[in-house]
Each structure stands twice: as structure tokens, then as C-alpha cells.
Symmetry: none
Subunit: 214 residues, 2 copies
């Protein structure tokens, strides 16, 4: 890539630990500059408007405004800025959603620092970058098209339901009230025409809404 200037990067992650760690690591590279950090997508957007980073490295799972939804906002307001999603999951839903919403890259959090740096360099040069395995998931998803009528948030809730969480626990996990989790659960059932929690779980497993065990 060209070295005429540092690549300015904005980090967005609701885990302070990840944020700090990532910043520390990236700053050991001379050609990368962490221009800012944020704990929420909304905050990140506000900051980005001012510093206009070349690359945004954003966690996909965040309370309030999810990373996926934030991609579009960045693209609308800052078309020059390239967005790379950071995720712990190689869930097809997340990956294809990210791509469809305009992400320039998708990197799993467990990859090496070098790979993240490589992703940043690549997208800064106008390319796209996907972790190994991510691309496969994307291709596999194309085959099974047909698509869920579910909203991103509903998929979040469904994932929690499969994990066996109660409404209260879902609320805690996603940073919303249990009442809201309950509403989402009701909407899921209504929308899918499924009356039972058991049915929801089978639906999720059958449709790859959540990554299967094993």
C-alpha cells in the first residue's frame, strides 16, 4: 500500500478491554494511526464526522445501535470511509448482513494482529477483506437464500433464545429491558407463525440464524 501518510483508523467496540488492547497493538505499527475510539456506534459516528477516518474498525455486537445498522449510516454520511466489521462470530447472518449493508471487510476477533493490520491496509486501498472461513460462510449462504423476514434485532433475540436465556437474561445481555426482550419474542412468534419456544429454536437451527454447535 502507499506509505505517503498514516492510515487513520477509528475503533468502535463496547468492550473497553478490546478497545484499549486493539489501540495499543495497532499503534505499534508506524503506518497506522488510531484517530479515535468509541464505545457505541452512535458515538463513533459523531466522532467520525469530525475526524473523517479512512477506516472504521467496528464491533458487530453492540447495545443500542448495532454494528450492522451502523454500516449504512457511515456509508451515507461518510462515503469515503471504509468500514471493517470485527466479530466473534462467523455466523452467516452476520456476515452476509454486513456485506449487504456495505461493509468493506469482516474480520473475526480471534485472528492475529497481522491479519487485522492487513485488513486495514487492504480496505484503505479500496479493496475488501474477509477472514478465512468468513468467505466460505458467505458463499454457503448464497445457496440457502430465501431469506428471513427477521429484523437484525430479532435475530439477536432469537440467538439468545436458542442459548436458553430468559427474557430477563436477554435484556441484560443486550442492554435492553426484559419487557423489550419479551416484545421481540412475541413478535418473532407472531411473524414466524410459531407458537412455542421449542419451535423457535428449531427454526433458528434450521435456518442458520445461529451458528450450530460442532
Amino acid at each position: 500500500m502507499n506509505e505517503r501518510a498514516k492510515i487513520s483508523v477509528l475503533l468502535i467496540d463496547n468492550h473497553p478491554l478490546v478497545l484499549d488492547g486493539l489501540k495499543a497493538v495497532l499503534e505499534t505499527f508506524d503506518h497506522i494511526e488510531v484517530a479515535g475510539t468509541a464505545g457505541l456506534a452512535q458515538t463513533g459516528l459523531d466522532i467520525a464526522r469530525q475526524i473523517r477516518p479512512q477506516v472504521v474498525l467496528m464491533d458487530i455486537n453492540m447495545p443500542k445501535l448495532s454494528g450492522i445498522d451502523a454500516i449504512e449510516l457511515f456509508r451515507n454520511e461518510l462515503p469515503q470511509t471504509r468500514v471493517v466489521m470485527l466479530s466473534m462470530h462467523d455466523s452467516r447472518e452476520y456476515i452476509s448482513s454486513s456485506v449487504m449493508h456495505g461493509a468493506a471487510g469482516y474480520v473475526l476477533k480471534d485472528v492475529s494482529t497481522d491479519e487485522i493490520v492487513c485488513a486495514i491496509e487492504t480496505v484503505a486501498n479500496g479493496g475488501t477483506y474477509f477472514s478465512s472461513g468468513v468467505f466460505d460462510a458467505l458463499m454457503g449462504d448464497r445457496a440457502g437464500e430465501g431469506s428471513d423476514p427477521l429484523t437484525p434485532r430479532e435475530r439477536d433475540i432469537l440467538g439468545q433464545i436458542v442459548a436458553g436465556r430468559s427474557n430477563r437474561e436477554i435484556g441484560e445481555a443486550l442492554g435492553i429491558s426484559s419487557a423489550t426482550a419479551e416484545t421481540h419474542r412475541k413478535n418473532l412468534k407472531k411473524k414466524l407463525g410459531i407458537a412455542t419456544t421449542a419451535g423457535l429454536i428449531r427454526y433458528a437451527l434450521d435456518h442458520g440464524v445461529v451458528s450450530k454447535v460442532g
Copy 2:
């Protein structure tokens, strides 16, 4: 094993004494780093999301979320992390449940420190480790192939649960009282070490207890 970096370990046990003792002991080994500790599986999972330990050493008996049920959550959310169960019991139920849910190792609490260290090293390198005696229990269980510890009646009930039936409906379907269905449900959970209905359904689907839908 490779010594290029410390093996990061997360300890989860609801006995503070065990936790502290284990930590102190493990930290006398240069190539092992106790990256975190937790008193509950849920807390451990939250911590693990951030520190992404290579190895999780987790007690099998814990209030709220049981260790066995937690294995699946770890495997879903942190596929890179290897889970080793720590237990005072060499019960077949526990051992085979642990293995079936994806544990990479099973160590009895009364083994020597060296053996625990060995287990950590082994699973960090992608292997599996079982205390002597544990392996025997596992094999003995395998002999009975099919390997469900479930009674025929319990499989009936499990099938009904997967179908989304309530205890009352199960009772009607099988010609027993709802109270009996309830008892079977409770026994299933206890026997499999699974705390939630969601977990039971995934167990059933994973183990072919019921034929999959679609």
C-alpha cells in the same frame, strides 16, 4: 508443546478457595497465565468474551448455569477456546454429558497439580485430556452405544418437548398425568446436566433422540 507464548487460562469455580488455590498454583508455572477467574459460569462467559482464553478450566457443579450447559455456550461464542471440566465426581452421567457437549477435557479435582497442568497443555495444543478413571467411565458408557443415559420413557418425553408440547399436552399425548410429565422433564434436566428447555432441545437434535424436522 510450544513455548512461544503463555497459555492463557480462565478459571471458573464457585468455591473461592478452589479458585484462589488453583490460581496460585498455576501461576508458579512460567508457561501458564491465569488470565481471569470467575465464580459463576455466566460471569466466566462474560469475561471469556473479552479475554478470549485458550483454555477454560470450569467446575461442573455450579448454581444457576451449570458447567455442562455452559460448555455449549462457550463453544458457540468462543469456538477457539477449549473447555476442561473440573469435577469431584467420576459419574458417567457427568463425564459423558461433558464430552457430548463439547468439553475438551475432564479432570477430577483430586488429581495432582502436574496432571492439571498437563491437561491444560494438552488441550491448548488441540488435544483432549481425561483423568485416569474418567476415560474408563467413558468407555464403559460407549459400550452401551447409542450412549444416551436416558430411559425409553424419558426419550418419549424428550421427543414431546422438542415438539413444543407443554407438560399438560405431553400428559395427554402419552396417557399420563401432567405431573408425571413434569417429573420426567425434571429428571431429564438433572440427568443431562442441562438447565434449560432450550438446552434439552439442542441435546435432542444433536443426539438424534428425535428425528429432525425438515
